[in-house]
């Protein structure tokens, strides 16, 4: 496994040491996140962080286990950069979902890990629609993250593409009849394209 901890390259210390935050919680994930959040506190851009920490666009380097580790870290970095907009409980449960999704022991080795460009679209979508209910997470074979909301037999599935583009599919039952619809659009138009399907059923508690 490659070194993922964020270091001050001049001193070779974790940057978190400059912020007086505990890293000895016994949790590797906590230490990792503290370092990542420290980066955010230092106001470094994700691209700089990715460059400096060795995070790469996933699917290109290292073993599959390393790629999945990198993908998890890159996703959490992005979440950390917008942490102020997300409820802490929501965020920690979302982290757990990501850990489960990108678990090496469960991953089909013919599939590409989730890409940071796809995850960026998901995060921007979630911030835009302000869903109270988190989506269930999944992934396509080519590295696109999937957000799925289910309300009884009614299903909304959104595949996140790079550059704020999504593919959406709805299965919707009305008066005992099943309707289905699908399309591709940008995240800005999600509310509009889903409006005929009472999208609150998926997003509200």
């Amino acid at each position: 496994m490659s070194e993922m901890r964020v270091l001050d390259t001049k001193r070779g210390k974790p940057l978190s040491s400059f912020l007086n935050v505990p890293t000895n919680t016994g949790s590797e994930e906590t230490s990792e996140l503290v370092d990542l959040l420290t980066r955010v506190a230092f106001n470094l851009s994700p691209s700089t962080m990715i460059q400096q920490t060795g995070f790469t666009t996933v699917g290109k380097t290292g073993t599959l286990e390393e790629q999945l580790y990198n993908a998890r870290a890159a996703c959490k970095l992005q979440i950390a950069s917008v942490a102020m907009h997300l409820d802490q409980d929501w965020r920690s449960r979302f982290f757990a979902q990501l850990d489960n999704l990108l678990d090496f022991d469960e991953w089909d080795d013919k599939d590409l890990p989730v890409t940071d460009t796809s995850f960026k679209t998901l995060l921007r979508l979630l911030l835009l629609i302000r869903a109270k209910r988190r989506p269930g997470l999944g992934a396509t074979s080519d590295g696109h993250i999937i957000a799925a909301w289910t309300a009884g037999a009614n299903r909304l599935t959104i595949e996140c593409l790079p550059e704020d583009q999504i593919r959406w599919i709805v299965i919707y039952h009305i008066d005992g009849e099943r309707e289905s619809a699908a399309g591709q659009t940008s995240i800005e138009r999600v509310a509009e394209v889903l409006s005929p399907y009472q999208s609150k059923q998926w997003f509200s508690r």
Binding site: E106, D111, G138, T157
Partner: protein, 161 residues
């Protein structure tokens, strides 16, 4: 059974579904299958499945036989994965209703003698795959629900009564 034969309409096929392609709720409780579980990868010409009635016994015994065969194959199976079962005729009909004429044929491979394939599945019909996942090919068994163990599929299918 000869390679390339169409599977009987009343029989069933089982698709291995990794955790990443299972439908979950917001707390990661598994509630079904995602359409992407039935999507062809780039370069794939057919969808791999396991022929349920290849195995002897009751339906539960057949499912266990199929799961054990998949576990024993090169595919393996993650602890949180699942297996989606669909009826051959129902899968055909769902595809026909959306103007796709698929073929489901027996195609044994070295590591799974019960291996079969779904051919001519479209790459550009997301709604079809969603309907399959929601209704037609949606009978889900979790890997954790099947007794521990694995066994390669026998060289010959169970006799059909």
């Amino acid at each position: 059974m000869r390679k390339g034969l169409k599977l009987p309409a009343e029989h069933h096929i089982v698709r291995y579904v990794p955790f990443s392609k299972l439908r979950k709720d917001e707390n990661d409780k598994i509630i079904g299958v995602l359409a992407t579980a039935f999507a062809l990868r780039k370069g794939e010409s057919a969808l791999s499945v396991t022929y349920l009635e290849y195995f002897p016994g009751s339906k539960m015994e057949q499912i266990r036989g199929a799961v054990w065969a998949i576990r024993a194959s090169d595919l393996g199976a993650g602890g949180k994965s699942g297996f989606a079962t669909g009826n051959v005729e129902a899968v055909y009909n769902t595809c026909i209703n959306r103007n796709h004429k698929i073929r489901i044929v027996y195609e044994p491979v070295n590591d799974n003698k019960a291996h079969s394939t779904v051919r001519r599945l479209p790459r550009d019909d997301a709604e079809l795959l969603e309907i399959l996942a929601a209704e037609t090919w949606a009978e889900l068994v979790l890997n954790s629900d099947i007794n521990p163990g694995k066994a390669t599929a026998p060289d010959n299918p169970a006799p059909q009564t």
